[in-house]
Amino acid sequence: MKALRQTLDSISIPIIAILLGLAASSIFVALANVSPIETYQKLFCEGFGPRGCQNFGDLLFFQVSNGDGGTSTVFSPLYGEGGSRIALLLEQATPLILTALSAAVAFQAGMFSIGMDGQFVMGAITAAFLGYWVPDQIYLLVGVTDPEAAPIILKTIMHGVVPLICLGAAMLVGAIYSWIPGYIKVKLNVNELISTIIFNAIAVQLITYLVNFPMRADFNNIARTRRIDDTAWLIPFNRGIFQDVEWFSGARVGVGLIIALIAAGLVWFYLRRTTAGYEQRMTRGTSLFARFGGIPTGRAVLRAMLISGALSGLAGAIAILGVERRVVDGFATGGTGFDGVLVAILAKESIVGILLVAPFFAGLNLGATNLQFGDLPRQLGGIIISFIILFNAMEDFIRQRLRALLRGRYWTRKSSATSGESTAV
C-alpha cells in the first residue's frame, strides 16, 4: 500500500507540474495570437505522436486509412509508417541519458559538477579523431593501400575492435578531463562549479580550434573533420539490422541506446549495491562523519568524478560514432551536456527517473523545434519548455501545497513523515 502511494505520488506531482507549466505558458502563447490548446497539441504531436498526428487523442490511438478508403485504428507509438517520431526522440535521448547519468554520479558524491558539456565534446573529438586515425594505421600496418578493397575478414575484425578503441579512449579522455576539477577540489578546495564552467569553456574553444585548423578536412563552407572510417561506425538500426523496419526510418538510433541503457544499469548497481557507491553517497551526506567513520572521502570524490567524466565522454563518442560521424564546427556549442545536467536535476538524480525524463525532455525539445511545421513560431516552444522545467523544479513546493489542500482527506499520512528520498530509487 505504501509503495503504491509512493509511486502514485512520484508520478502525479510531475504531471501536475507539467499542467501548471502549460497553464502558465498559455499566457505567452495567447499573447502571440495563437490558440494555446492548438499549440500544445502540435507540441506533443510533433514530439511524441505518429506522423499526421492532429490532436491529443492521436498520441495513443490513431486512425489510419488503409488502401480501400476504410480506416483502421492503430496504437500510435508502434505506428511507423514513414518513420516514427519516437525513434527520432530516442536518437536525441541517447546522449541525454548518458550525460544525465554522469551528472547524477557527480552530484551523488556531493560534487555539483556541471562539466558534462566539456567532457562530452572532448570525448566526441577523441572519437572523431581515432575514428579515422586508427583504421588508417591498421591499413598501413597490414599493407592495404585501398581501404575499399580490404579483405572482408580484416574489415570484420576492425568493425569489432575500432569502435571499442574509440569508445574506450573517449571515456578515458572524459574521465581525465573530469578528474582535474575533482583533484583541485579535493587538494586545493577550488569550487567545482567554477572550475567545471571554466573547463567547459576551454573545451569548446579547443574543439573550435581543432575543427577549424589542424583537423579540418577540406575547403567546405563549414569547417569539419574527416568522416570516420566505416569500420568505426556504430551503424544505426535503420541502416543495419532493422533496415526493413519502417519504424526506424530516418532516425539514427542505434547501439548507442543499448549502451546507454546498460550504463544506466551499471550506474545504479554501482551507487546502490557496491561499497564504493555507498562511500561516495556517505561523503555527500555528511562528509565529516564519513571521514570519521574511516571512509576516504577524497578518494570517493575522485572516483565519482572519474566515472562521471567517463560517462560524458562515452556520450560524446556515441554522438560521433553513431550519429554525426564527424565533428562539424558548431557541434561543440550545442549544449548537450547542459541538457544532461538539467535532466539529472529534474529526475532528482534517480536512475529510473533519468530514463523517463531524458526521452520526455528530448520529445519536448523536438516538438518545440518542430512547432514550425505547424506554422507556429519556434520561440513559443522554448517558452513552454522553460515553464514546464520551472514548475517541475518546484516539485517540493507543489507537493506541500497539494498536501495542505488535501489535508482533510489525507488520512493517516503525517506531513512530517514525508521525506525527500521517496522518489529516489
Binding site: I222, G250, F331, N370, F373
Partner: protein, 372 residues
Amino acid sequence: MFRLVNRRLLLLIAAITLLGIMSVRAQDTTEYVDECVAETASEAPAEAVAPPDNSDISFTIILPNPRGDRSFIDSAAAGAERAIAELGVQGTIVETAGVQEHDAAIRRAVQDSPDLIITIAVDASTIEEIADEFPDQLFAAQETFFPENPDYDNLALFNIFTHENSYLAGVAAGMLTRTKIVGAVGGGDFPGINLFIIGFEEGVKSVCPECQTLRSYVGSFSDPVTAKEQALNLYTEGADILYQVAGRSGEGVLAAASETGNLAIGVDSNQDDLYPGSIMVSAMKRVDNAVFGFVESIVNDTYTPGVTNVGMAEGYAGLSWDLGICSRTFDENGPEDLVAKLPEVRQAIAEARAAILAGDIVVTNALLEPAS
C-alpha cells in the same frame, strides 16, 4: 488673341531648341544616364493578381539560422513567402538555431514528404547523406558548396557566384575611399566568403592600385558584437570603407560605420536603408529569386537535378543601385563630396560590368580556385 497664340508658339519653339541643345550636349560628353530615373517614371502601379491555386503542391524550406539577419536568411525567407503568395502553393518555413539542428530538421521535413525540400546553406555532408537515404524525396540546395559535384537524381544544386558584383562594389569603394584604405569583414575564412572578399579586393585594385586592403574574419555569422569590434579596429587602422560579408554579424559592421562616420557596404539584401548615409551600396545576392525559382520549377514540372551555377550575367547577383532596386538612399544622405562623385562612379561600374559580361575582365572565383 493673336498675340497670345504667338507667345505660346514662341515658348514651344524655345523649349524644342533647348531640348535639342541638351540632347546634343548629353551625346557629346557621354554623361552617365541614370536608368533608374526613367524606370521609376514609367513604372505602373502593380495590380493585385489572385494567385493560382496550387494548394496540392507543397514545399518546406530549412533556414540555417533564425530569421532577422536583415541579409541572407531574410532574403531566402522572403523568396519563400513570395512563392507562397504568388504561386498559391503550400509552404512551410522552418528556422533552425544552428548547424547542430540542420540534420534533425531536414529529417523531420522528410516525414511530411512535401514535393520539395529546399535547404539553405546546409552543410554538404548532411545533404549528401540525406539525399542518399531518401531517394524518393526531391531536394534543392541553395548555398551549399560541394567539394565535388554530387550526382543524385533527387538533388538540385543552385550556386550564386558573387565575385563579380563584389568586384563592382570594390570599384565603388576604390573610387570613393579618402584614406586609400578599404577593408572587408567576413563571417569566416573559407571559399564561400572569400569569393566575395577576393572579388571585392580585385575591384578596389582595378581603380586604385595603390589602395591598401584589409581583412578580418569574425568566425561566426551570428555575432554582431565581435564583428563590430573588428570593424572599429579596421576603422582605427585607417580604413574608411568596409565591405561586410558576415550575415547577422555584419549588422555590427554597419553599426560601427554609422557610429564612426565611416562607410560600409551591405551584402545579400538591400541594406542601404539600415543606416542611411553610412551604407553606400549593397552587393546583392538574389537568394529570394533562387528560392522562388525552385518552387516554380516544381509548379511548372521543370525540376532538374544537378548543378546550376549563376551569377551577375543571369541577374542573380548585382548591386542595390541597379535597375529593379534603384536604391538612391546614399545619394540623399551621404557626404556631399562623395555624392558629387557618384555619377562618375556609376559610369565606371557600368563600364566594368560590361567588360566582365563580355569576358574582358575575369574576376577570381575563390570557390572554383580554393587555393587563391
